[in-house]
Symmetry: C2
Subunit: 266 residues, 2 copies
DNA sequence: CCCACCGTTTCGGTGAGTGAAACGGCAATC
DNA sequence: GATTGCCGTTTCACTCACCGAAACGGTGGG
């Protein structure tokens, strides 16, 4: 996990705007603070160019200077909070997530499918929840997460094929890497109405997830409970998750203002 | 709330990057979906230019096309979630917010000061909480909110002067618009250790907030409980909020990875 | 002292970006 | 069904914003 120098020597784009945005992209999930030189190396852009663009980005409010470097600034959070797909979904879902949290005191996630990943859109957890490494805005592969399996099991078959074709990477010894086995697991999930994850994404961590449907019964989100493998009794928790997901689905169907189309891979 | 045409005829910037970013800014908190023509009018940029820039933004992933228009897309949420000032704060604070929610079942907010506003960085609420209009990413003036008063009362005196100089706009009949009265109110807050809001931002809504300090005892955030004016007993809730805020302050001081400087107005 | 690397500034050449004009499509209005 | 108005999109010759090699001053450390 500590891959060192992911520099991007190859193809620096030519459009000014694309270059500026590339600079924003350079801030990965981990690196909170980057220097000008870092950014220049990472994007493959010449130093003076980076300097100029950074100036504009700071001026805009998307970046802020620190004693030695640049960091993403609040304006980006501001903008990100306005993204409809996330905002509407979160607003509707939060009460249900709270109920689940209060009932279990475990980690509650709300996820959507984005490309070939599960994207965690909201997370509720407290002191008593088992510490797991998952973040809002975090991504995990579809095939090794409870939420991801929900999207695969309840979504269009083609979706499964694309994921299988892209390759099922191994995350833990228990990750299902054979398409045949995964298909069986998904069939079971479809029949039961919920997906599970037995230490397939992280050792010692299990989860159970249920689908949130839109009006046409396409899975547009998933709610999950995640926690310690020794402590969590998934079959016992499944009904609660399913109930919450169904209630949310019903609420979403009632509200006409939501147009939450799932997005395929680009 | 139905102000019609906030077009921006005046000064279209000349830099390509600035223009592209201007297009993102054009998406206000309310308008989820804008057409090309709208954007052109609102930014004051010629249509072909907007067309080209939108293409690049969509290609980047910051915008997505809809049947008839453009909306902010998930990548912006992704980026926004990486903003350190928000991410670290939220991560540390969430358990405490959960505890408060569970104890009260009211709306719990975590806010930071940004410019001359309180910016709500996290909000926890459930079915039982009184519905109020506040959103994550939402902004309210400092002088009429419990969290804002906390920043003013516990921050540097100069901060108060800047806010007073900018003018205390009236939000409700109870909003304190006289600098002298506000100063008295802030002195009381400083002495008690918490700030209150008696229907000053919204009729029927009251709140109590306590400061979260960094190591040098500068207020870097505020935790608040917000709810119905008839139901909430603020003095009784104040100790809980203060306790949570103090605990969070202590945790933040322990963790050396956080460098959370408050930001003044630009 | 020198070297390596940092952020920053300069400046002439040039091609990426520009935007008026025109196009084809759609819906409401006449 | 012609007209009108506004939509998104395409074209294209001009030109100025952008580029980036080179050079500069500062800083740390060997």
């Amino acid at each position: 996990m500590t891959a060192v120098a992911p520099k991007q020597p190859g193809n620096p784009p030519k459009s000014v705007l694309a270059r500026g945005l590339l600079l924003l992209d350079a801030f990965g999930p981990e690196e909170t603070e980057l220097t000008l030189a870092h950014l220049a190396r990472r994007t493959g852009l010449p130093k003076p160019t980076v300097h100029r663009l950074l100036g504009e980005l700071v001026n805009w409010g998307g970046l802020e200077r620190t004693p030695n470097g640049y960091r993403l600034a609040i304006k980006l959070f501001d903008l990100g909070e306005r993204v409809p797909r996330r905002r509407d979904m979160r607003q509707a879902a939060l009460p249900y997530l709270e109920d689940l949290y209060e009932a279990t005191h475990e980690n509650i996630h709300l996820a959507v499918a984005d490309g070939l990943d599960t994207l965690f859109v909201e997370k509720v957890s407290g002191h008593r929840s088992t510490r797991i490494m998952s973040r809002i805005g975090g991504r995990l592969p579809l095939h090794c997460t409870a939420t991801g399996k929900v999207f695969l099991a309840f979504g269009v078959p083609d979706y499964f094929h694309r994921v299988a074709a892209a390759g099922l990477t191994r995350c833990t010894p228990r990750t299902i890497v054979l398409p045949g086995l995964l298909r069986e697991d998904l069939a079971r999930a479809l029949q039961r109405g919920y997906g599970v994850n037995h230490e397939e994404s992280e050792v010692g961590v299990v989860a159970v997830a249920a689908p949130v449907f839109d009006r046409r019964r396409r899975p547009i989100a998933a709610i999950s409970i995640t926690g310690n493998a020794n402590r969590l009794d998934l079959p016992r928790l499944a009904p609660a998750v399913r109930t919450a997901a169904m209630a949310l689905s019903r609420e979403l169907a009632r509200d006409p203002s939501l147009r939450l189309v799932p997005r395929a891979a680009s």
